[in-house]
Structures are given as C-alpha cells and as structure tokens.
C-alpha cells in the first residue's frame, strides 16, 4: 500500500514535470517499478518477461559505459512505450494516462503550430478516436472511461478465473459421477443375480443332503437319524436299524429315494432354467444396448467421414469433424462398457484342467439320485467313488 502511494506520488511528480515540459530521469529501479505498474493489467508471466528483457537491456547499456538514466532515456517517452506494449496485447492503455499523453502531445503540437489533435491507439493499432485538447469535458469523459475500462478488465479477469474453476470442478464432478455410476451398475447386477444364485445354492444343498442320507442307509450299519437333521426331515422321521432291514423297507426306501431324486432333479432343472432365462434376458438387454450404442458410433463415424470430405473441399467444418470423432469414440467406448456388464458363467478356478477333462467320463457313474437304494452295492463306498461324488456335487453347486 505504501509502495503504491509512493509510486503514485512519483508518478504525479513526473506528470507535473511533464506538463512543464521537463524530462525527469528515472533510475533502473524506478523505471522497472513504473513499467510493472503500467503493465499490471497483463498476465504475471508476461509482465515478468517484459520487465526481464528491459532490465537486461539496461544492464547491457550500463556495461557498455552508459549510466542507468541515459540507458532509460534512450527508450524514449515512457507512456508511448507502455502504450505500444499494451497495444501488442490488444489492450488499450489506461485512458487517463493516454489522456495525459494526448494533452502533452497536443501541447507540443500547438507550440509548433501543428494541429492540436492526436489519435489514441485502438485495438488493431489504428486510430481509435480523436479529440481536442484542454477541454474540461474530455477530462470527465476520460475519468469515466478509465473507470469503465478498469471495471471491465476486472470483470473479465473474474469471469476468466471463474470459468477455469468451473471447468476444474466439473471435471472432478464428472469423474466422481462416473465412479458412482460404475458402482451402481455393479450393484444392480449383483442384486439382480442374487435371488437366482440363492435359489440355486439352496436346491444344490438339499440335493447334497439327500444323497448323503441315502448313502449312509445303504452301508448296512446301525444308524439313527438325529431329530432335526436333514435326513430326518427328508425321510419322514424314520428310525433305521440293522435289524429292521427287510424287503419291505428296501422297497419303501427305494420308492422314497426315487421320488425325492425326481423332485430334486426337477427343482434343479427348474432353477437352472430360471437362471438361464435370467441370464439370457440380461445378456440380451446388454447386447441390444451395446448394439444400439455401437450403431450410433458407426453413424457418427460415417458423419466424420462426410465432414472430412467437406473439409478437404474447403468447407469450414473442422470443429464439427472433431465433434463427430469425439462422439464416435464415446459411443464405441459406451458400447464396450455395456459389454463388460454381460453375465457370464463362472467356472471354479481351483479345479484342475485334467479333472475337468475327465469329468464327462465320471459323471454318468456318479448319479446316485436316479438309482433306487435297493440297487446300491452293499459294501462300503470306495474312496474313489466318494471323490467322484464330491466332484459331482461341486459341479451341481456350480
């Protein structure tokens, strides 16, 4: 603040000296400070660039034997120089400063008998306006225009900063929204699949329990089904001992096992069919959406080609071409994204490839639910058979 007041004081003193027709010599520090103030409307980097260049020039002049004041005097009129610098950026110099320069020039021209008019440099380096000198109305208009100019410049800088901040925040918002949408899609898919997977798991578990109950019955050992156990609920709460084995029991067991096996097979088939239908429905929707979006991409690709031909023909359609390219890429990306949502069958990763290869051979032998209990072998189940049954159960689960 104090520095500004000091600088303005010096500036007013210089104006007074100018009005008396005197040239007040500035040293390097004052000159660079005045230059910085005059170019304050420019970007900080540009200011630094210009000031560095002038500073270097002065240093070289001083190195060649001139004083700082002489080197600065060689630059000519300070106001004209700053006005030309600002004009290089299509910025009009401060109107008050230009008004003062205009008055000085007019005064000089009046002294030499010339016409008392001077053009203020406009945006394109052409004469912006001309006015007479020494009029009180001109000073008032000048002050108003200077205030207006400062206000417009401030507003422009504010708008520019706001636009940059808006772009930055928009980008962050878009990224957050994309991440949220991706999570939402995954969640929807999981919720859609959940009932079917639950149903499949439930039916698979029941089938496993039923098979386990049948197998223990056929071992010929004394066994009692505990209340509340799966075998208890499935076989109608029967107590089985080795002494009660007989033809009637075997027949009943066989019939019950056959019925239960048929029911579980049917239920599993129904569950599989439901899951298959759900998967097909979901996948069909995904493929349809992907195809639709992909077709839009192809359409924009076609539009891009058409625009490129027109651009080569000289039409100003570069912007539209770039927009079409962007749209095509976006639609293709969207199609790819939709395809990632396809519901695929999961395969157990831990199962060795050899076991999977041998599975079709072992599968027919491991179908106990379709065989009545009476036909099962009396001897204990061999470990190999148990393993085969286990693999079959795992397969059913999958």
């Amino acid at each position: 603040m104090l520095r500004d007041i000091e600088w303005h004081g010096r500036r007013m003193a210089r104006q007074a000296a100018d009005s008396r027709g005197e040239e007040q010599a500035m040293n390097k520090k004052e000159f660079l400070e005045a230059l910085r103030q005059a170019l304050a409307v420019l970007d900080e980097t540009e200011q630094r660039d210009i000031i560095d260049e002038y500073e270097q020039h002065i240093d070289m002049k001083v190195a060649s034997g001139l004083t700082e004041e002489e080197a600065i005097a060689d630059f000519g009129d300070f106001n004209e120089m700053t006005a030309e610098l600002l004009e290089a950026y299509h910025v009009r110099a401060d109107y008050a400063g230009m008004g003062r320069m205009r008055e000085n020039s007019a005064e000089k021209a009046g002294n030499t008998g010339g016409q008392a008019q001077k053009a203020v440099p406009g945006k394109d380096g052409q004469s912006g306006e001309t006015s007479g000198s020494g009029t009180a109305g001109g000073s008032t208009v000048g002050n108003f225009a200077a205030g207006l100019w400062k206000m417009l410049t401030g507003a422009w800088l504010w708008l520019w900063g706001g636009a940059k901040a808006a772009v930055r925040w928009s980008w962050r918002l878009i990224k957050a929204a994309a991440a949220w949408a991706w999570k939402a899609c995954l969640w929807c898919r999981r919720q859609f699949c959940r009932p079917f997977i639950w149903l499949a798991g439930l039916l698979g578990l029941r089938a496993k329990e039923a098979k386990g109950g049948d197998r223990t019955d056929s071992d010929g050992q004394e066994e009692q089904a505990a209340p509340g156990s799966p075998g208890d609920s499935d076989t109608g709460r029967t107590f089985l001992t080795a002494k009660e084995k007989g033809g009637a029991r075997k027949m009943r067991q066989g019939i019950l096992s056959g019925i239960w096996g048929g029911i579980t097979s049917f239920c599993r088939w129904c569950a599989d069919a439901c899951i298959w239908c759900a998967r097909m429905t979901w996948n069909a929707c995904c493929v349809a959406a992907s195809l639709t979006v992909g077709m839009m991409g192809v359409l924009f690709l076609f539009t891009l080609g058409m625009f490129l031909i027109l651009v080569l023909g000289g039409y100003p359609l570069v912007g539209l071409s770039v927009a079409s390219l962007g749209a095509a890429v976006s639609f293709f990306a969207a199609a790819g994204f939709v395809m990632t949502l396809l519901w695929r069958k999961k395969r157990p990763a831990s199962e060795p490839a050899a076991a999977r290869a041998a599975e079709p051979i072992a599968a027919p032998a491991a179908e106990p639910t379709a065989v009545p209990a009476s036909e099962l072998p009396a001897e204990p189940v061999m470990p190999e058979e148990t393993e085969a049954n286990g693999r079959e159960e795992e397969k059913d689960h999958a």
């Binding site: 660039d49 002038y54 270097q56 020039h57 070289m60 630059f75 000519g76 120089m81 610098l85 290089a88």
Partner: protein, 106 residues
Amino acid sequence: MNAQFKKGVLELIVLESVRQKDMYGYELVEEVSKVVDVNEGTIYPLLKRLTNERYFETYLRESTEGPPRKYYHLTVAGILYRDRLEAEWTEFADRVGAFLQERKGK
C-alpha cells in the same frame, strides 16, 4: 528521417534482421539502429507484437556474460509476412520514385 517513414519500415527491417540469424533484443536494437535512428523503446513493443502474432518464436539461450538471453526466431508465417512486406515496400518505393522522377522531368 521522418518518424512516420521509420514506423512504416521498422517492421520490415526487424523481420529481415531476424531472418538472417536469430537475435536477442539488445543485439536487434543495435542492428536496427544501424539503419534507422529509432527510440529503443519502440523496438521491444514491436518484437512483442510480432511474437504475439506468431511471426516470431522465442527461446532462451545461456550467456557467458549474464542471465540467459531471449532469442527471436522467424517462423514460416514470419517469412511469408516479411516477403509480403518487402513486395509492398518495393512497389511503394518504385511508384513514389517514378512519380518523383516524372515530376523532375517536367
């Protein structure tokens, strides 16, 4: 020389000087001062304007005598612009010369 004459040809002189070899500001001011006597303060705004209009591009090069210097290099657009200015200047000088000769003959 008349200040308006100087102002008109200053661009051409600056462009031609940089076309020969890349120069930094002070060097360019000295080069131009050999041809026309101008305020040094007018050269830098001109350089800045030509740079902003993409006729020049700048780069920094280390110097043994101080801080790095900013060198000006003429772009392709600058070369074309310089050729155009030269053609205009030649035509203008020819016409004015012919007019003056014609008047002298009378």
